[in-house]
Amino acid sequence: MNKIWIVAQREFTSRVRKKTFLLSTILLPLFIFVFYALMIYFSVNGSDDVRIAVVDKANLFGDSIKSDKELQFKFLNDETEGSIRTKVKNKEYSGYIYVPGSTSLETDSLQVRAEKTLGLMTREKIEKRVSSRLKEKRLLSLPAITQKQIDSAQRDVGIKVTPLEGNEKKDKSAVSYAVGFASGFLIYIILFIYGTMVMRGVMEEKVSRIAEVIVSSVKPFQLMMGKILGIGAVGLVQFLIWIVLVSVLMALLPVLMPGVDPQQAMQQVPGNGMAQAQQSGVAVFMTHLSEINFPLLISCFIFYFLGGYLLYSSLFAAVGSSVNEDPQDAQSLLLPVTMPIVFSFVIMMKAVNDPTSGLAVFGSLFPLSSPIVMMARLAHGIPSGVTITELLLSMLFLILGFMLTTWVAAKIYRTGILLYGKKVTWKEMWKWAFRKN
């Protein structure tokens, strides 16, 4: 036990002190933050204000099209096409719409001329506003219709989907989906990153020929466990730093960029018509987010993170111990280890949609896939996503599964780590795992 601790300590400190650790741990959240900040910045300030001159000889629009700061329509009905053209050339306006006197309301083509190509977003905005104004005018031209009637007819209907049971609670499946998918995906990534880290650590020991030196003072099992625990600790620390850094930076965002509220910014990206819906969408998202049981989710996340990591990293270690100098060998030996991870990811994508389906239940109980799949089900909450019995069973199975893989992996590891110059097959590894002593 004491020796496992010494080994784990070395694994931990030697990795944490590496420059790459500092870089990836500090720079990655910074990078995400900068990316996020830039995205918001550009979506708010990126588009120049566009001013469109409208020469409406036919008086189609009644001298008004919805305008705001970013997109203004100015009616200059007295200008000729030639004079408006020069004004656009002189950059007084970004573009113009010329409606000849002969045009009727029934027209289906109008032309916007701009000195330079307008952005896709702006073009869409112009199109939407012009056509919605035109639609309004057409409706108004019908006999006995008032503006008020049109407004009331155009009101949006809010549609809510609620489960049959579960009192007045609003439906939160979209949020659960997002949270479930995100945490399942995180565990998927963790298994790969830290699993391969363990594998490479073992390969390093084998290739640099230090394995036999160490094994003469430490049992192979202690060496393997020390490495797994040390790297697991690196992973935990890295994750905690990421979480703290990202949340601090996110909190700092409004301070660093005054006047930019990320929530507001998100609404402004799409066209104005959608902003309304978007706003309520964000608000609903936020309230649903606060309804998710985060203490439960986070503690389960840590449990499944550790359980899944311990389960798979010992298998990765076994593969690493069987590989010789040629890292290419690792590829084929790795396949049986990575396949279940990829499969559980696929099951997770189904489970996040339908957390109580048979496949999801199986996937969340089976220890090779439960770390990823269970997170997706947990996001839907207890008991609507997963029952408490299933959760406890799944945890128990994961612990048993972890003990089993470690036991098997330790036997493969013990033989593999001292074997040089021989290409190992799965058949041989199987033999090492299940022979006596």
């Binding site: 070395r10 390093e204 640099s208 020929r209 036999e212 030196v213 003469s216 049992k219």
Partner: protein
Amino acid sequence: MNILEVRRLKKYYATQKAVDDLSFSLASGSIFGLLGPNGAGKTTLIRMITGIFFPDEGEIIFDGRPFNPVSDILQIGYMPEERGLYKKMKIGEQAVYLAQLKGLSKSEATRKVKEWFVRFEMQSWWNKKVEDLSKGMSQKLQFVTTVLHEPKLIILDEPFSGLDPVNANLIKDEIYRLAQNGATIIFSTHRMEQVEEICDHIILVNKGTKILDGTVKAVRQQFKEHLFRISLEEIPAGIESPAFDILRQEDHSLVVRIRETHKPNDVLQYFLSRQQNVTGFQEILPSLNEIFIRLVEGTPLSRKFEKITA
């Protein structure tokens, strides 16, 4: 007092008898040579003594008690033939780490490493990395990490490979010093001249079994062929004697084999009675190298893979 006794040790692999019914004992404070051709089972034997492998049969008595891999391993220092160090780790820290794994506390390990670094003039290496060292330098470091925890039994597998004569002598002197201080040293190598020079006692292993066991002197005596070199001022023609045969003639000396029932004195008498001036007379004992080749030759050098039913 024997530090190590190996009794009827067996280790069979699926296709080979790596170690087959091997016994020997090792006196405390001696330097012991474990010899054998490639694939003789030396590494397997050593791995059982260091607790890396469990024997299939037989027992190992360490320091008077049955060998307990967990606790006795702290009394053993092993430098394997396939050796290496963490390339990216600082040398000082690495030595301390390896000593800690041998059960030393961190402060004690640090103190000892510093002591040894002074002795080997390696103080300036502390913050360097292993990848900055030459092969000989890392060999020295490896030796230090092997003996740092003052083990009772030190096992060195080809300790001089890659060392220049100066550094090899440094290590050799250290080996003598450690043996004088009571440590027992097992020395596994193919380099017979080193064995002759250093070892008190050797065993020769081939195909998993012991084929020779004894002190270097006794072994050479055992395999002597009654060869003598006699040097003369002038070599006469037509030498013939019932006491010896001439094997070959070098300038001013003859190599002769004395026939059975005759004595070296008979050779001298033959030349003295003929008024020859004898300038030298010396017995030629076979070198370990010759003995080794004689014993191992004729047996198929590389092992055959065969099904073992144990």
